[in-house]
Structure formats: C-alpha cells, structure tokens
C-alpha cells in the first residue's frame, strides 16, 4: 500500500483554522500540570494563567479575522460565524475565570482540574460552533458536555450538586443517543454527514419526502433541543443549574447555550433551508411552548438560582423566535441576542453569587431583602442586569428582543411576535420582584452581608454592565458584525 501523502499546505491551512482552539487546549493542559508544581497558597496563579490563555486565544480570533478558512477536508471552517461565536464563548469563559477568582477562595474550588475542565469545555464549544460536518458537531458537543457533567458535580460533599450532575448526565447522554441516531438516519438516506453537501442533496424532493430522513431530522432536533433546553426537553435545566457551583451555572447558561445555538443555526440555515415549510411549524410550536412554560414556571420560584434557570429556558425560546424566521435578519437577531444574553446573565449570576454567602441556603429570594440601600453598587448592578433580562430600554436586552420580534413580524409570524411580547411582559413581574425585595422589603433579620468582591470579580461585573449599557445605546456596529457573520454562512 502506498503511504498516504500529506499535503503540507493543506495541513497548514487546517491548523490555521483551529488556532484559537489549539491555544485553549494547550492552556488547559498547562494549567493542569502547573497545579502539580505550585504550592497551596499560590493557586491563584492557575486562574491568572487561564485568563492569559483566553486573552491570547481572543487575540488569535481577532488576527484570523472574518475570512473563510476551511480545514481538515471540510470538517471544520473558520468563518464570520465561527469567529463571532468564538468571541462570545471566550468572553463567557473569561468572565467565568474572573468570577472564579473570588468564588474559588470561598468554596474551595481552587484546583487545577476546575480551571482546566472549564477550558476543555470551552474548546469543545468552539469546535461545535465551527463544525461543518455532523461528526465535528457531535464531537464538539461531547467535548463540551463531559467536562460540564463533572463541573456540575464538583462539590462532592453536597448532595444537591451531585444530584444535579447525575440528572444532567443521564438526560445529556440520553439526548446524545437521539442526536446520534438522527445523524445515522440522515446518513442512511443521503450518504453524507457534511453540512454543505447535505444542503445540495436536499434539492432532490425524493429525499425530502423520505420518512427516514424526516425521522432523522426530528431526532437531530430533539438532541439539540435538550442541549439548549427547549420545552418539553428542559427537565434537567432547573436541577442542574441549582445544584451546580454558581460559577459553573453562570458559565453553562451563557456559553453552552451559545455553542448549541451556533450549531443549530448552522444546521438549520445551511443544511435544511429546503425543509423550512415543514420545519417552521415545529420550531414555532417549540418557541411558543418554551417561552410560555419557562416564564410561567419562573413566576413561582423563590430560589434565585432556580428562577434564573427558568428565565434562561424562556430566553432560549426568544432566541428560537429568530430561527423560526429562518432568514438573515432572524439569524442576525439571534446572534446579537446570544452575545448580549451571555453578558447580562453572567452579570446577574455574579451579583447573586456575592450576596449569597453559602451554596444551597443563600439563594433564597428573602436573602435579597434590604440589600439595595445598604449596598447601593450591588443593588444598582443587579437591577441593571435584571431590567436588561426583562427587556426594558435603554439596555441591550431591549434592543436584542426588539430585533428578534421585528424579524418575526417581517417574515409574517405576527402571532409569534405577539406571544413573545406578552411573555416578555409577564417575565418583568419576576425580575422586578427581585428588585422589589432589594429595595422595598424590610428584612426579618439583619441584612445579609455580601462577600467583599476581589478586584477581578468587580472588573467582571463592571465589564458586563458596560456591555449591557453600551450595546443598549449604540448596537449598530455589533449588529452589522452579526449580519456579516450570518451572510458568511450562506455564501
């Protein structure tokens, strides 16, 4: 047998297309090894090294730009969309690390494996967002999920943490089974797993009408729906979010959602536009169910972490509204909202993390009573993030929702927009309920004393607040980048 010749130039392009991922994985391994070499009191170095790695990776994304670089014979592509999601995911990861500086000290997660697992999961998300083959998407999904299962159960002595991890793991593995079977059926009908090739196959009406193909697409959607927690596949979300260490919850809610939506957008817009007439009804139903069930369940929650978990389900529904539209405008709105959501949600979790002194008991909503006037900075920040989540101007959350719903209206899905707006109005009740607790409820016992934040932690909160306000007032440039990203996908 002749030896397989390696095309040096192609290999170089391939490596170039995954430079940010390589940097993240290298940092993860380095942090893990560094953990063995340094003494207990110098563990904060690990976090610093992680941040440095993320910074370099962000710079490499910037240096690669939005140009299209295909690698590994079409398995992965670095295009505008990949670059956009790399930035979203890396920023979420950076915010997590900044917050972890304080959290690790309080809760004892200053361990090499904690940081390295977060970095490995980040690399999986980036691969998932850039994968142009269902195989890469699947491998990215698993690379992101498996470290997250471990991170959710990181507090080995807290039953709630372990229980959340087990539920997440079982349902996650179950969902991977569905996703894989969907891919297998699609492969059986079309003979390919490459997303762009799939798109050309779908011009054949016989394939489109084949029941095996329809079943495959359905199963694939179920798999994705589990990961982005769409109702009725959301059962794991509140438990996993409540049980997980709060830093990890913040990371999951922002980054996992972004990565899973990135892959979903790629599959829906590139591979399946031919199925739009059938698919939009399904997505329409999922979006309405997700928004409504998420918001209604959040109304009755008294645990802040659980409340934010249900609110994150509702937000998955809003983002799906952009995908129902199925055009550039809708995709652009979804991308913008995912970016904004990452910052506002992580900011909210960050403040809540400071106010609750302990895992488990500290997250009762009554614990917020009286915080507003005693600690004005914390109160103001949390209020800002909450009104942005609720979609009140002049915050970025409002702009994001405005574009999502206007995309739906432009494409003729008026009822969807109406239901979305009504849901958004209902959600203001539970966001403002937290604000009311902070400013207007007198505490039964004395006001809870928040933990004094580390400098880096405050930086993370301020950065999120700045992004939320600035994108609320001048969203134009970011919206344009999002538009170019979606267009790069369709070329």
């Amino acid at each position: 047998m002749a030896p397989i010749s390696i095309d040096a130039a192609a290999l170089l392009t391939s490596v170039q297309s995954i430079v940010p991922e390589i940097i993240v994985v290298a940092t993860a391994i380095f942090v893990l090894l560094l953990d063995l070499a340094i003494s207990e009191e110098k563990k904060h170095l690990l976090c610093g090294m992680g941040l440095l790695g993320i910074g370099v990776a962000l710079f490499s994304v910037y240096a690669l730009g939005q140009g299209r670089i295909e690698g590994f014979s079409g398995m992965i592509v670095h295009d505008g969309m990949g670059a956009f999601f790399d930035v979203v995911i890396l920023s979420a990861c950076a915010l997590t690390f900044l917050m972890a500086t304080g959290y690790s000290e309080w809760e004892g997660t200053h361990k090499g494996e904690f940081y390295s697992l977060i970095l490995l999961s980040t690399s999986g998300m980036m691969f998932m967002a850039k994968g142009t083959d269902l195989m890469t998407v699947f491998l990215g999904l698993e690379t992101l999920s498996i470290p997250i299962y471990v991170l959710v159960g990181f507090h080995r002595n807290r039953m709630s943490s372990l229980e959340g991890a087990l539920k997440y793991f079982l349902l996650g593995a179950f969902a991977s089974g569905f996703l894989l079977y969907g891919i297998a059926l699609i492969y059986a009908v079309t003979g390919t797993t490459k997303i762009p090739v799939l798109a050309t196959m779908l011009y054949d009406p016989r394939i489109l009408a084949s029941p095996l193909f329809l079943a495959g697409t359905g199963l694939l959607l179920v798999g994705f729906a589990f990961k982005v927690s769409l109702v009725p596949f959301h059962m794991w979300t509140p438990d996993a979010y409540e049980g997980a260490p709060t830093v990890v919850t913040a990371f999951m809610s922002a980054a996992v959602k972004a990565a899973a939506f990135a892959a979903l957008i790629r599959v829906l817009l590139v591979a399946l536009p031919g199925m739009q007439p059938v698919l939009w009804k399904v997505l329409w139903g999922l979006a309405v169910l997700t928004m409504t069930v998420g918001n209604l369940s959040a109304l009755v929650q008294n645990n802040v972490k659980r409340l934010l978990a249900y609110s994150s389900i509702a937000h998955a529904g809003y983002i799906l509204v952009g995908l129902v539209s199925g055009d550039v405008l809708g995709g652009q709105a979804s991308l913008f909202y995912l970016l904004v959501y990452a910052f506002m949600n992580m900011g909210a979790f960050g403040v809540v993390m400071l106010i609750a002194q302990k895992e488990d008991e500290g997250y009762d909503i009554a614990n917020l009573a009286g915080i507003g006037f005693k600690y004005p900075a914390l109160g103001a920040l949390l209020t800002l993030f909450l009104i942005s989540l609720g979609g009140i101007p002049p915050t970025a959350g409002f702009v994001g929702k405005f574009y999502l719903f206007s995309a739906a209206v432009k494409n003729g899905y008026i009822w969807l927009a109406v239901i979305g707006v009504l849901n958004s109005a209902a959600s203001i009740y539970y966001y403002l309920r937290m604000v009311v607790y902070m400013y207007m409820v007198t505490p039964d016992v004395e006001v809870a004393v928040p933990r004094p934040p580390r400098i880096l932690f405050s930086m993370a909160l301020c950065a999120s607040a700045v992004v939320v306000v600035v994108l609320g007032i001048i969203p134009r440039s970011v919206l344009e980048i999002a538009e170019r990203s979606v267009l790069s996908l369709l070329m």
């Binding site: 372990l162 087990l166 793991f169 593995a173 089974g177 492969y187």
Partner: protein, 100 residues
C-alpha cells in the same frame, strides 16, 4: 453490496430497547447500560450504511461514538460512586433534594 434495511431494522429495535430501558428502569446502573445499548444501536446503523455505500465515514463515525461512549461511562460511573458514598443508594427515585 448488501442491503442495509435488515440492519437498520435491527438498530431500530435495539434503539427502542435502550429508550424503553432509560424511561422505565429505576436503577441508575441499568439506565446507564440502556444508554450504551442506544449508542450501540447507532453504531450498527452507521456500519451497515457505510458498508452498503462503500464509504468509510460510517465506520469512522462508529469509532468516534465508541470513544465518546467510553468517556461518558467513566464520568457517569464516577458521579454514581460519589452519590453512593453520600447516600448509599443508586435508585433514581430516592434522589430528590432538588424539586420545584
């Protein structure tokens, strides 16, 4: 090349058995085994189709699935052991600290 439909039927039946196991059984170990059956059903489908089409993608995919299944099993069993140390049970109905 051989006709894959019989193999696809087999994989469908295996997948159904796996799903039923996850939904019905209460013991976490058995649920884990059922998930493995689901993943192996996927492998059967991939290999049958790949060999029918004379395409290596199917076989390569099966290898990837096996690798991932091994990693998942390792993490799942680790979580299970941690739970057993705290609670001395692996019955899923008895794990109910978190509820709405």
């Amino acid at each position: 090349m051989m006709d894959p439909s019989a193999y696809l039927l087999l994989s469908g039946i295996l997948f159904g058995i796996g799903v039923a196991g996850v939904v019905v059984r209460k013991n976490v170990l058995i649920i884990l085994m059922s998930v493995e059956i689901m993943l192996n059903a996927v492998n059967v489908a991939f290999i049958a189709v790949g060999s029918h089409l004379g395409d290596v993608t199917g076989s390569v995919f099966a290898f990837m699935v096996m690798t991932v299944a091994a990693a998942e099993a390792a993490v799942g069993l680790a979580i299970l052991i941690a739970i057993f140390r705290l609670k001395e049970t692996i019955d899923i109905t008895e794990l109910s600290v978190l509820k709405w």
